[in-house]
């Protein structure tokens, strides 16, 4: 009885649409031809999507943007957390500041970075020039060789503070005695990190990684306002590709098929996270 509202919401607005999407993915539904009868086409859409170069391009664009971005976020976030994991008077203020980027409206962030990267008036070029790191007027979002770098940097800025907070929480809830024992045994800082801390923190890190990877796959808002997928298709990440297919080409059948292929990928990542947590719990029990 108490479950009724939640079940209605989840089944009516999450599960039922998924089933509809599965059905639509097997048809040639197209909003541009609203009066034509919708035909059943079997798995043709899946074949068409897998064979299309736009799909392959969007997978590639997404990968070259989010793989480096997530790697840098994880490394930088962990490094910062290790650096910051000690008592500190202004910790509350610092935590509020580190929490802010992750919670800010993504559209606002995208807009800000569009100004930040502007070729003529952008602050990035100004600071780079000021620090003698680069010359004049690089067009970060329209230059094909730079646009992906620009988006990676935005992603890193956006989520590293949050990864830092997650790592800090993991570090602070860890038992201290193994580290102290290693220290007493004369292990170097690197040895303590590599052989004690990292293995103990590994389940937390894998869970953060899976969370970040699933989030990053859904990248949309910021890129939508910054580049709209351009120049060409260079920054057309997966969700932008789906948006263009669905609401510019109006090909809902193929778009549904493509989104299901993404679902498969995300479920795989989710299983990894789940498995990592299990592993983590078992480790804690052993210790």
């Amino acid at each position: 009885m108490l479950l009724t509202p939640a079940l209605l919401l989840v089944f009516g607005l999450r599960v039922a649409p998924m089933i509809v999407a599965g059905g639509v993915s097997l048809t040639d539904m197209n909003l541009a031809r609203p009066y034509d009868p919708v035909r059943f086409v079997g798995v043709d859409n899946y074949g068409a999507v897998l064979a299309s170069s736009d799909f392959a391009d969007s997978i590639w664009s997404t990968s070259v943007i989010i793989v480096p971005a997530v790697m840098i976020e994880m490394a930088l976030g962990l490094a910062l957390a290790l650096w910051l994991a000690r008592p500190f008077r202004a910790r509350r203020v610092a935590r509020a500041a580190l929490l802010t980027p992750y919670l800010l409206t993504p559209i606002v962030i995208g807009n800000f970075f569009r100004m930040f990267y502007n070729a003529e008036f952008g602050q990035l070029n100004y600071y780079a020039h000021f620090l003698h790191l680069g010359g004049g007027h690089e067009a970060w979002l329209t230059d094909p060789s730079r646009v992906r770098l620009g988006i990676i940097a935005l992603e890193v800025w956006h989520t590293t503070p949050f990864v830092t907070l997650l790592c800090l929480a993991g570090l602070l809830s860890m038992p201290q005695s193994p580290l102290e024992a290693a220290y007493a045994d004369g292990a170097t800082a690197w040895q303590r990190f590599r052989h004690v801390l990292l293995p103990m923190l590994a389940p937390v890190l894998i869970a953060i990684f899976a969370l970040r990877a699933m989030d990053a796959l859904q990248l949309f808002d910021e890129v939508y306002v910054m580049t709209g997928g351009g120049p060409g298709h260079l920054s057309e990440v997966f969700n932008l590709y789906l948006y263009h297919q669905g609401f510019r080409q109006f090909a809902l059948g193929t778009t549904s098929a493509a989104s299901f292929l993404l679902v498969a990928l995300v479920v795989a990542l989710g299983l990894i996270a789940f498995w990592a947590r299990r592993l983590g719990q078992r480790n804690v029990e052993v210790a």
């Binding site: 919401l9 989840v10 919670l103 606002v108």
Partner: protein, 273 residues
């Protein structure tokens, strides 16, 4: 000496991380209170006589004001619906024996992880049939369902930590189920309710994709308005900054006043008082 140096280095890194995290906000705040062309000034001016021309401009625009109204009219009811449904479900999952509880929890978790487009496209098709496109009701339901799993999981975690003996004691003392909920459970889960409320509010407030696809003509929220804030010839950075500051104001207020609850909602701290 070495100790002092390391403390200085430590504080410096902290300061850099804090400043880096807040830089866009500081810049937009500064630009929003200057004349419209201040966005093009390099280095950015941080000392100036504040003026309100950008705010007057955006708040004088009836389309912008109506998007503030739409944002509130969608986020507030959707958050309430989500948290109430989530709390009831969390309680039921913790206290009642439910068949297929594991399956139910998995459906919940998976439904949150499914990429937005796999949901938004069929929702568009269904809403078109039901005449729910471009309506507040449609968006409220859709947003509440989208964030529900987080609310359920946060509430479940908290309610499950309350010892069952408290329930039994209240029932033996003659309390009804309603009294048990309002007098015993709700006071104990207030921090959890606060945590899921503030986090859900922020997530729904920031939502862009669903609203772009399912609405955008009659109903427009702040993120969609801000995304379309440019003219053919030039981008109006001054007014955009003012509009952005208005859009993120509730988030900043929540970070300042309910930081603990936000961290708890994100799983980054204890939810107890």
């Amino acid at each position: 000496m070495r100790h002092t140096l390391s403390t200085i280095a430590h504080v410096a890194v902290y300061a850099l991380a804090v400043l880096g995290s807040l830089y866009p906000l500081i810049w937009m705040l500064a630009v929003s209170f200057q004349p419209a062309n201040a966005a093009f000034e390099l280095p950015p001016k941080l000392i100036f006589v504040p003026e309100l021309s950008n705010y007057r401009k955006v708040l004088g625009d009836s389309a912008f004001v109506s998007s503030i109204v739409d944002s509130l009219a969608i986020t507030v009811p959707a958050t309430l619906l989500c948290v109430v449904a989530g709390a009831l479900a969390g309680y039921a999952l913790s206290r009642h024996r439910i068949r297929r509880q594991g399956t139910l929890t998995s459906i919940l978790v998976i439904s949150r992880l499914v990429p937005a487009f796999a949901i938004v496209i069929p929702t568009f098709i269904i809403y078109r049939e039901l005449d729910l496109l471009d309506t507040r009701v449609g968006l409220i339901l859709s947003m509440a369902a989208f964030q529900l799993p987080i609310a359920v999981l946060v509430m479940y975690r908290i309610i499950d930590a309350i010892p069952r003996s408290l329930d039994e004691a209240a029932l033996i003392d003659g309390a009804g189920v309603i009294q048990l909920l309002t007098r015993v459970i709700v006071p104990l889960v207030k921090p959890g309710l606060a945590a899921s409320t503030v986090l859900t509010f922020v997530l729904i407030w920031n939502e862009f994709l669903f609203i772009l696809v399912l609405a955008g003509n009659a109903v427009i929220t702040l993120p969609v308005t801000i995304a379309s804030f440019e003219t053919e010839r030039q981008i109006l950075w001054g007014p955009i900054s003012a509009a952005s500051m208005i859009a993120v104001l509730p988030i900043i207020l929540l970070v300042l006043t309910a930081q603990r609850h936000l961290l708890a909602g994100l799983g980054l701290g204890a939810v107890r008082e």
